[in-house]
């Protein structure tokens, strides 16, 4: 029986290179950058804004408009083969004028490489391309980033809140201007939370994934078929 996918062995593209050892005496700044950074500069030129090496991890600042091209190239090119997207998140700095940074953590298993991509996007237009078409695993990561920071990922198939409930009206909790206790009073938060129908939280997509749709009560099936998600 063959696997339905190609099994990637870590370091398989490195040939007879010696087994990796734990790095010692790693400098805070500087050091040898990931070879992918030089390849990116050669390929994309001005779209690569800056390359930082922090604790021996390479961060590449890229232009927000060319994120999808860069990620797709890193994934597809046989000299890069970044086959694993481990995280998508964002950083908002305390300086209100500073742009928000969206961060992608890419890992190349065959080359044993780690690359961090950052794109700085202005606060008045929080939009960046979705990498869902390259990595299907970006789906929930981008939903979480949208939920917590309000960044819209253009091209995402189902950009909804994922941690907070869909009717959440108080804003984006990880933004610096968000008060720790939320914008509404405790009594109002509790009233809104208790008004939600816990059964109607699931979308049609989630129910079809669980393959439980046919087992649901008729009345609930009809409600969900009508597009209702909130039950309010």
């Amino acid at each position: 029986m063959t696997a339905p996918f190609e099994i990637q062995h870590a370091g398989s593209a490195l040939g007879n290179a010696p087994a990796p050892t734990s790095p010692v005496n790693v400098p805070h700044r500087g050091g040898e950058p990931n070879p992918s950074a030089a390849a990116l500069r050669e390929k994309f030129g001005d779209a690569i804004r800056r390359v930082d090496v922090v604790w021996a991890e390479t961060t590449v600042y890229v232009a927000p408009t060319s994120v999808l091209d860069i990620v797709r190239w890193l994934h597809d090119d046989p000299s890069q083969r970044y086959d694993y997207l481990s995280d998508v998140t964002a950083v908002e700095h305390r300086d209100y004028e500073a742009p928000i940074e969206v961060v992608w953590h890419l890992r190349s298993l065959p080359f044993r490489r780690f690359l961090r991509l950052k794109a700085q996007i202005p606060k008045n237009k929080l939009e960046v391309a979705s990498v869902w078409s390259v990595y299907k695993g970006a789906d929930w990561l981008e939903r979480e980033t949208f939920d917590m920071f309000g960044i819209r990922f253009i091209g995402h198939p189902d950009l909804r809140r994922i941690l907070m409930w869909e009717q959440y009206r108080e804003g984006y909790p990880l933004r610096k201007d968000f008060p720790l206790r939320g914008r509404f009073s405790r009594a109002e938060q509790l009233r809104q939370a208790l008004a939600a129908n816990p059964e109607a939280r699931y979308s049609m997509e989630e129910l079809s994934i669980a393959d439980a749709f046919e087992d649901l009560p008729t009345e609930m099936r009809q409600r969900l078929k009508g597009g209702e998600r909130t039950g309010e």
Partner: protein, 208 residues
């Protein structure tokens, strides 16, 4: 009518050689004794308190000594809801629904600081004590409480169960906030009344 009247007996006879045992007691006492020693818990474990709860149920501390070895993972067969861990607002309707699905008589234990008060999670996502959602009988302090602490709380609940009187009709009343009632206070008014110090539901003790 063909039936012979039963002989009137003023004195209860007891023949020790008949091997019949019987006990005279108050019905209240008997029912409460039975309830207190066969509480079936509905574990609502959401965080680290649930680990301590599992330790309580395991062999070293042995919750079975209190008649609670049968975890009831369905609220329909449960007697006591043990909320172990913090409850986010997203789970608030769920725990309310589970409480409503439990048949009377039912009790609840808020295990740990998070379930009792929200603990350090005084933030946008966490309910500040499950007593804002369901009635709570026993609060067990600790972060998380040790199994001895939970068992002490369970024994306090058993004491409470044993002191219930069936003559007390109000004990099983379930009250839902009714917006049409004259006693109903809408949330904005609660906020207004609680200024400037806040109350357990609306906390204003800092500018956060």
């Amino acid at each position: 009518m063909g039936l012979t009247p039963r002989p009137e007996r003023k004195v209860v006879e007891y023949n020790p050689s008949s091997q019949e045992g019987w006990v005279a007691t108050r019905l209240d006492f008997l029912v409460n004794w039975g309830r207190a020693n066969s509480l079936w818990p509905m574990p609502f474990g959401t965080a680290c308190c649930a680990i301590e709860f599992m330790a309580t149920a395991a062999s070293r501390f042995d919750l079975a000594r209190f008649g609670m070895e049968r975890m009831s993972f369905s609220p329909r067969q449960a007697d006591v809801l043990i909320c172990a861990g913090r409850v986010p607002f997203k789970l608030a309707p769920v725990i309310r629904r589970i409480w409503q699905q439990m048949p009377q008589p039912k009790w609840s234990i808020a295990m740990g600081a998070c379930a009792s008060t929200g603990n350090i999670f005084d933030n946008y996502a966490v309910v500040q004590g499950i007593d804002t959602i369901i009635p709570v009988d026993v609060y067990v302090p600790g972060c998380p409480p040790r199994p001895e602490g939970l068992m002490y709380g369970i024994m306090m609940l058993q004491e409470k169960v044993k002191r219930e009187r069936m003559a007390d009709e109000g004990i099983r009343n379930e009250m839902e906030p009714d917006p049409n009632s004259k006693l109903y206070i809408p949330p904005p008014l609660i906020d207004e009344l609680s200024e400037p110090f806040g109350n357990s539901v609306h906390q204003t003790r800092s500018g956060l």
